[in-house]
Amino acid sequence: MTSSIEEPASVRPVPSAVRQARRGNSLGRLVARRILLGFGLLIAASMLIFGGVEALPGDFASTYLGQDATPQAIANIREELGLDRPMAERYLSWLGGIAQGDFGTSWSNRNSVGDQIWKRLGNSLLLAGVAALIAIPLALALGMVAVLYRNRIPDRVISLLSLAAISLPEFFIGYLLIQFFTVQLGFASFPATVYDGMGLGERLATIVLPVMTLVIVVLAHMMRMTRSAIMNVMSSPYVETAELKGLSALRIIAEHAAPNAVAPVVTVIALNLAALVVGVVVVEVVFVYPGIGQYMVDAVTVRDMPVVQGCGLIFAALYIVLNMVADIVSILANPRLRHPR
């Protein structure tokens, strides 16, 4: 019971997206803005990646030549690779190539970086995709179970286990799983290396352990965020209104809470998918899985710059696209924007 409040009932906090919409931007323009912004961000990321890789200590020529590194030999290689040109020029020609789908050639084995990336990206996306397919529905379901039984035993067990999972780094979880399932039970295969010509069933059987590792890593965070997003909505006055209409608990959650929890939950899922794609790097190395992450790590050790830069750009693009999708979904989920005054 509060006494008189001077604010009129129609005054509610206005999210910035809504304010932009009121300023005359239509929904379409709002979405277009996000896409444009994402593109600009990608360009900025490409500069950072190029500059960052350039700034790495050591260079390819001396690593490649090892003991035979005479100043003359190094200079020859640098000239051959075009390293004597100024950095801005090299950046622009790199970016121009990528715009035409050409990621350049690897310095160490003279293969096309693009071909390698696409092949290995497919492998990585298989790994991340299977993990996401398992983790997302499981996280949503567990999150709702936790809300339904909040502060009771199922909720506490879920909370405790997810806290434990969050606290462990992915490589450690990976080694634990190998120790348990492969060494002690002899149930799963290690290393999880897939080859060309393997059937899908065979591939899936091979990647059981890395998928499990990834699921454990992202599940906990997603589940906790789902729980808190729904809890937040559940404590709002309109849920009380629904309760005072005599609706059942399930109907309240499904019809009154869920539509308002879409935006925060989608944001969390998108962030975790991005984390999944990046987390794949470590997991691939642990399980010797021929994905883009392992490709990148191998390239870093020999300073194979076109490969490192190409992989870095792909990771950045995935991250930006996933976040952009989350942004757009939460704009679309807002009834104020779909149905302006």
Partner: protein
């Protein structure tokens, strides 16, 4: 005749867990009994914490945050709903008893259309088919005076005004044809001119549908218009229970008498004076391209009180921001004691800043919760007068004395004070600077009526003692009568009427002031009908009519 709702010896408790882990039982409602018959309205009135909403929600067998019905009976048409299981309770809620919340804006789900939410309970309880419920909703929208009743339900909550939402919420409660409706402060969050429309709509709908109703409010003048009986509550106990006429015209309990007489204080205005403390000339101000204030001119004589009255969005608070220099105006001047003030705060000298102080509506948010009262009140002493040590402590004690609080409050934190005490500390902090003008921005509107009255009396006493001038921003005409010497009525960023109080508040009126004055509920039975009849006779103010729709 069997009563629709009969509450007998109701006792409601909540278990509060202390920080040390021990649990204590708090009694929220203690031994409360009342009856409401078909087509009758019982008003529940009291200050915050009196247990009004708790009683109202108990009629739906609902308790917020672990509140439980400890003993007593809640008989709905002879059946004790407090003893029903969850399934039985759900069959009652929304179907036989419905609830109208204070803030309809928060109580409607933003994701669904209004129509769908209005008919939901009727359909889920199997009372009507979708077609029947939709038809009834349109009928209810019509009698509640909502625009385009047949298509109103197609809109989303954010697409209609606050007053319309509150009426839609009433339609939602009425839709399933319940035997009882609980109205929980349904007009508190609205402007007075909107409140009167909603009140009239609610009253009309109750008469039409012959439902029983509980009407919860802290405003006795409002409840006098709508209820047949009134129960006055305090600290969860019944203070007085009787017919509306008896409570308003012949209150028995001291507490009720205090509530009834509260709005009847008026102050003799001071004589007009040419010695202007503050003068605002031709001021236009606003944010980016939007102007909030248009060509505003005001005069506040030294040692007097100028009340600036208007509804939300009329530009009152923006005016205060311009005077303090927080928002430099686009045109016009502010002069203080005859000399022009620099428009921006950063260009004013410390001495100029010292002479104008401010008190806010929410004393809570205007104080650092991590500072003790001695630091909050002492800070301006150090800043403006360089006081430290014992001298400073002595002066803080003096100030606490002036606001009728003792030295035992020196080392308390704001969270340990009541709402009224916090506002008093805010006043002491303003006084510490020895200001010549204090801008008071709705300093009492978040407080309970009796506490608010105490604050007003304190402000008047301090003015008599120190000759400080007040610019008092409010939306409440009763406060204007109680404290002002001069009055400025604001509407949509313009001053529509300004002058000494007696002239501003007497006819002939301009259209807006007339509407505003006639919309303020008076502690008089039959006031609402009288005003509504009068309104139909006089042509509507065009500007005000738009305000009602869109505010």
């Amino acid at each position: 005749m069997p009563e629709m709702l009969s509450v007998k010896n109701l006792r409601i408790e909540v278990t509060a867990r202390q920080t040390d882990g021990s649990a204590t039982n708090l009694v929220l409602v203690d031994d409360v009994s009342f009856d409401v018959g078909k087509g009758r309205v019982l008003g529940l009135i009291g200050e915050s914490g009196a247990g009004k909403s708790t009683i109202g929600l108990s009629a739906l067998a609902y308790g917020r945050g672990g509140v439980r019905i400890e003993s007593g009976q809640i008989l709905l048409d002879g059946q004790d709903i407090a003893r029903l299981g969850l399934r039985g309770i759900r069959a009652v809620r929304g179907a036989r008893v419905a609830y109208v919340a204070q803030s309809a804006a928060a109580a409607f789900n933003p994701a669904h259309k209004l129509g769908r939410q209005v008919i939901e309970a009727s359909i889920r309880h199997g009372i009507m088919t979708r077609a029947e419920a939709t038809k009834r909703a349109a009928y209810l929208f019509g009698i509640l005076g909502l625009p385009d009743p047949d298509t109103f339900g197609e809109r989303f909550p954010h697409q209609v005004s606050g007053g319309q939402l509150q009426r839609a919420m009433t339609a939602m409660a009425l839709c399933a044809n319940p035997e009882l409706i609980v109205f929980d402060e349904p007009t508190t969050a609205l402007d007075v001119t909107t409140q009167i429309e909603v009140l009239a709509a609610i009253k009309h709908a109750i008469v039409e549908t012959q439902t029983a109703a509980l009407y919860i409010t802290h405003d006795l003048a409002v409840v006098a218009q709508i209820s047949d009986d009134i129960m006055v509550l305090r600290h969860g106990k019944t203070v007085e229970y009787g017919s509306t006429r008896q409570i308003i015209e012949a209150p028995r309990a001291d507490y009720t008498r205090a509530l009834v007489s509260i709005r009847q204080t008026t102050r003799q205005e001071a004589r007009p004076s040419d010695d202007a403390q503050l003068r605002v000339d031709g001021m236009t101000a606003g944010y980016s391209a939007m102007d909030v204030l248009h060509d505003v001119s005001l005069v506040l004589p030294r040692g007097q009180t100028l009340a600036v009255v208007g509804e939300s969005g009329s530009g009152k608070s923006t005016l205060a921001r311009v005077i303090t220099g927080l928002l430099p105006p686009k045109a016009g001047t502010v002069s203080f004691s005859g000399a022009a003030l620099p428009p921006a705060r950063k260009d004013r000298s410390r001495e100029q800043l010292r002479r104008i102080q401010m008190i806010y509506q929410m004393a809570d948010t205007a104080m650092n919760p991590r500072q003790k009262i001695r630091d909050i009140v002492g800070r301006p002493l150090t800043l403006y007068f360089g006081m430290r040590g014992t001298a400073k402590t002595e002066r803080v004690k003096e100030l606490l004395d002036q606001i009728e609080m003792g030295p035992q409050f020196l080392d308390r934190f704001p969270a340990e004070l009541s709402g009224g005490q916090k506002q008093r500390v805010a006043i002491a902090r303003a006084l510490a600077a020895k200001p010549e003008l204090i801008l008071c921005d709705e300093p009492t509107s978040a407080l309970d009526p009796l506490v608010a009255e105490g604050i007003l009396k304190l402000l008047l006493r301090l003015q008599a003692e120190t000759a400080v001038s007040y610019l008092f921003i409010t939306h409440d005409i009763a406060i204007v009568r109680a404290i002002a010497d001069r009055v400025a009525v604001m509407h949509r960023g313009k001053v529509v009427r300004e002058g000494v109080k007696s002239a501003v508040l007497s006819p002939p009126f301009d259209d807006y002031t007339d509407l505003l004055l006639r919309s303020v509920p008076e502690m008089e039975i039959g006031w609402l009908e009288r005003v509504l009849d009068g309104r139909r006779a006089v042509p509507q103010v065009p500007g005000a009519a738009i305000e009602l729709e869109r505010s």
